[in-house]
């Protein structure tokens, strides 16, 4: 059995080394992509039936967190590629094997149904443009949601069908290269036009019973947790370094810094524990053949939103305690702050989710497709 944390450690070391480079190039540096492929962490949800590792979600979250702790962008790309690989459950088996059997093949893309599909003989012609295509530039196959002529699902494109647009100019997670991409009148054969809501999982695996939107949300949260952890590691390192030139007291000797660090530690560790508890429970249910119900999905989403918020607080605290040292562009405190604040902008963990989840706690019916 693969030791996933050991594999993640190896990839994380490469990611840490190239973090600054990715931040400057606004895409994942090639050596990081190779290291992540070597570790096998870009396809963790491919089922064993297709030669995949079929990693359980708690382990997957730990891997994402570990890599994000080294570099937020690398962790994010790991999360996007692996959650995309969950879609292998919904693609015709012969096509799924074609796409995912090669252990170095990577997939990515966007669920949103931005594409317009037109039925033609043997398949569809598709035109569309998608936002936030993290890591798509490195993918062997790219997915994009589309609808039209009775179809509603995820189309699979080859890189030569796709045009990339240099739109990813952001404050944080720059290294993810989450640019826009488009297809123009691309032909997709019927067996690459998957319809998860219609067909359900086409392969037997407990991951197929795990809700896909929820998996994305908790993956985002795990990336956030890794970034928050990195920020607290960095302030401890900076705070205990030998006294800066001419100064007589390290940050770690300040009572305010001590108290604020303890509070941030408590908040981050608490949020993490809640997330992993809920995911473990839901996974036990899925493995036992049960249904991960709306209540359980709601708890995971609540834990995810809370974890993202705790990560931001950790990054804010570390940055503020770091004082003047924080604002240098290549300070890790600074990159963590930028990255964490981009995580909370992700719709999957955005604070506006609280209102919906509060309804659930009050016992009010909600549209379950929202979570």
């Amino acid at each position: 059995m693969t030791d996933w944390m050991a594999a993640a450690d190896v990839a994380a070391a490469v990611a840490a080394e190239h973090a600054r480079e990715g931040d400057e190039q606004r895409r994942l540096p090639a050596p990081v992509g190779e290291a992540l492929k070597d570790a096998g962490v870009l396809r963790m949800c491919v089922p064993e039936a297709y030669g995949g590792p079929q990693v359980d979600p708690p382990t997957m979250l730990r891997v994402i967190e570990r890599i994000a702790r080294a570099d937020g962008a690398a962790g994010w790309c790991t999360m996007i590629a692996s959650t995309t690989s969950l879609l292998s459950h919904y693609v015709e088996p012969h096509r799924a094997r074609e796409i995912w059997s090669d252990p170095r093949h990577v997939t990515g893309g966007v669920f949103a149904r931005n594409g317009i599909a037109t039925k033609v003989d043997g398949g569809y012609r598709v035109t569309g443009r998608w936002l936030w295509g993290s890591g798509t530039q490195h993918c062997d196959w790219i997915t994009g949601g589309a609808a039209g002529d009775g179809y509603n699902g995820s189309m699979w494109f080859t890189p030569d069908q796709v045009t990339f647009h240099d739109t990813w100019h952001t404050s944080g997670l720059r290294g993810t290269g989450s640019l826009e991409y488009s297809v123009d009148d691309a032909f997709v054969p019927d067996d690459l036009a998957s319809q998860p809501q219609v067909t359900g999982a086409l392969v037997d695996s407990p991951l197929g019973a795990f809700p896909d939107m929820t998996l994305l949300a908790i993956g985002v949260a795990a990336a956030g947790l890794g970034i928050g952890r990195h920020a607290l590691d960095a302030i401890v390192e900076l705070g205990t370094e030998k006294k800066p030139q001419f100064s007589q007291r390290t940050i770690s000797q300040s009572g305010v810094a001590q108290a604020e660090l303890a509070k941030a530690e408590a908040a981050l560790r608490s949020a993490r524990a809640f997330l992993f508890d809920e995911v473990a429970q839901a996974w036990d249910t899925a493995v036992a053949g049960g249904k991960v119900d709306v209540a359980s999905r709601g708890q995971m989403r609540l834990a995810g939103a809370h974890a993202a918020e705790a990560a931001v607080k950790a990054a804010d605290t570390a940055y503020t305690l770091g004082g003047g040292s924080s604002i240098f562009e290549h300070s890790p405190l600074q990159r963590c702050l930028r990255d964490a604040h981009v995580v909370t902008q992700h719709i999957m963990v955005a604070p506006r989710l609280y209102e919906t989840l509060g309804k659930l706690h009050f016992g009010i019916d909600i549209d379950a497709s929202m979570i």
Binding site: D166, H169, K243, D316
Partner: protein
């Protein structure tokens, strides 16, 4: 505000208008020579103007669309100090080009180990013949790469307690041995520099005031500020105001998210409160009263307010707030309205500052003293709470460096 500006036919207004009639497109030098750049300075550089007179001049210049020359570190810091402590030769040489912004000034005060405790500075200046030889490092210097001169404080006597052995210099920025390195900030831009001194030789006649008396001079500077009516943005006077954000949110149809609605009310409340404090301080200045404790409190509130404004803007924009400003290519600036449009009329949250503002706002509670330092200042200076004893106050600076113990 609790005062009224003089009437439209006030003779001070008429004087400015007459001058403007004869100088329809005044240069910086002309404005300086008219005394309008620093009207509160003594003649010939200023008009010995009281605060109301200053506001009248501002008002008339603004009405005519005339911009004053910008040289804040010169007219705000260096100039007043030269006026108080400089020689006549220094005044004659430096003040006119400074007021006209023909020579730009920067400030060389903070050091890596001397920020919140400035008197701890370690840059050394050693007299060698008729020159001082300067070695050390300064940081957080605004615009050092564009400046012609800097005001520099450096240690000239390490054998006396730390506040005593400091001297004040005019430092030409083109002297050999000065190296300026811009600090690339979180916004991607750079406003601050590090400045390194290696055997820089400053002529002794650039010493301002008495040798070893620089600390007193540096403090004199702080009391002499020009009053102004401008509201200023939440990012240290730049950027949008809280009210601007709230108005844009209202104009685009408000917000439905209950938590964000609470935040709008909070941001607006803070804006009103800060405006009250500002008016209060201005009123006090006009009456030539000592500022009350609200002056000490304003920075604390204003910096947090800046962060709240930027957080709210970001939250209201949603996912597209991840994007920075376009730098060419096929990015469409108008796209930032799309997510907003989903919950309100199709309109944007207009302000180029939102993108950078959020990132810049993170520095608000760091620059000029961290939040902890600010609150300790309130605790110790305003409230008189006992402070940790600073044993180094009575030691010589060199001795304090050796023990290096906790302050």
């Amino acid at each position: 505000m609790d005062f009224q500006l003089p009437a439209d036919d006030d003779p001070r207004r008429l004087a400015v208008r007459a001058w403007l009639a004869s100088h329809p497109n005044p240069t910086g030098r002309e404005l300086a020579e008219a005394g309008y750049v620093a009207p509160h300075w003594p003649a010939p550089w200023g008009l010995d103007a009281d605060p109301i007179h200053q506001l009248v001049i501002d008002d008339e210049l603004a009405r005519a669309g005339v911009q004053l020359p910008m040289n804040p570190m010169g007219t705000g810091w260096g100039g007043p100090t030269i006026l108080v402590g400089g020689t006549q030769a220094q005044k004659d040489r430096y003040l006119w080009p400074m007021l006209a912004a023909e020579e730009i000034w920067c400030q060389l005060f903070s050091e890596p180990g001397a920020g919140s405790d400035l008197a701890n500075l370690g840059t050394r200046a050693v007299l060698d013949g008729d020159e001082f030889v300067v070695n050390g490092q300064k940081i957080w210097t605004t615009s050092a790469e564009h400046a012609d001169f800097g005001i520099l404080i450096a240690r000239t006597d390490p054998t006396v307690p730390k506040h005593k052995g400091i001297s004040y210099f005019v430092c030409p920025m083109d002297l050999p041995g000065i190296e300026v390195r811009p600090i690339v900030e979180i916004t991607g831009g750079n406003h601050f520099c590090e400045v390194f001194f290696t055997d820089v030789r400053i002529p002794a006649d650039l010493l301002v005031g008495t040798l070893h008396d620089g600390w007193r001079l540096a403090k004199v500077t702080l009391g002499n500020e020009r009053v102004s009516l401008s509201t200023g943005g939440v990012l240290w006077g730049n950027g949008p105001t809280g009210l601007e954000l709230v108005e844009q949110l209202r104009d685009r149809g408000g917000l439905t998210d209950p938590l964000l609605r609470q935040d709008v009310a909070r941001v607006y409340s803070e804006h009103v409160v800060l405006d009250l404090i500002r008016m209060r301080m201005l009123t006090a200045a006009l009456k030539r009263q000592e500022p009350g404790p609200e002056a000490s409190i304003r920075k604390l509130l204003a910096d947090e307010h800046g962060q709240h404004v930027m957080q709210l803007a970001r939250a209201a924009i949603g996912a597209e707030a991840m994007l920075t400003a376009p730098d060419g290519l096929d990015y469409d600036a108008h796209r930032d309205g799309r997510v907003l449009a989903e919950q309100g009329p199709a309109d944007d949250l207009h302000h180029p500052s939102w993108y950078h503002g959020f990132m810049f706002s993170q520095a608000l509670t760091i620059g000029g003293g961290t939040f902890a330092v600010q609150r300790n200042i309130i605790g110790e200076r305003v409230l008189g709470l006992p402070r940790d004893e600073d044993a180094t106050v009575r030691m010589s600076w060199a001795e304090a460096q050796r023990i290096g113990g906790p302050r």
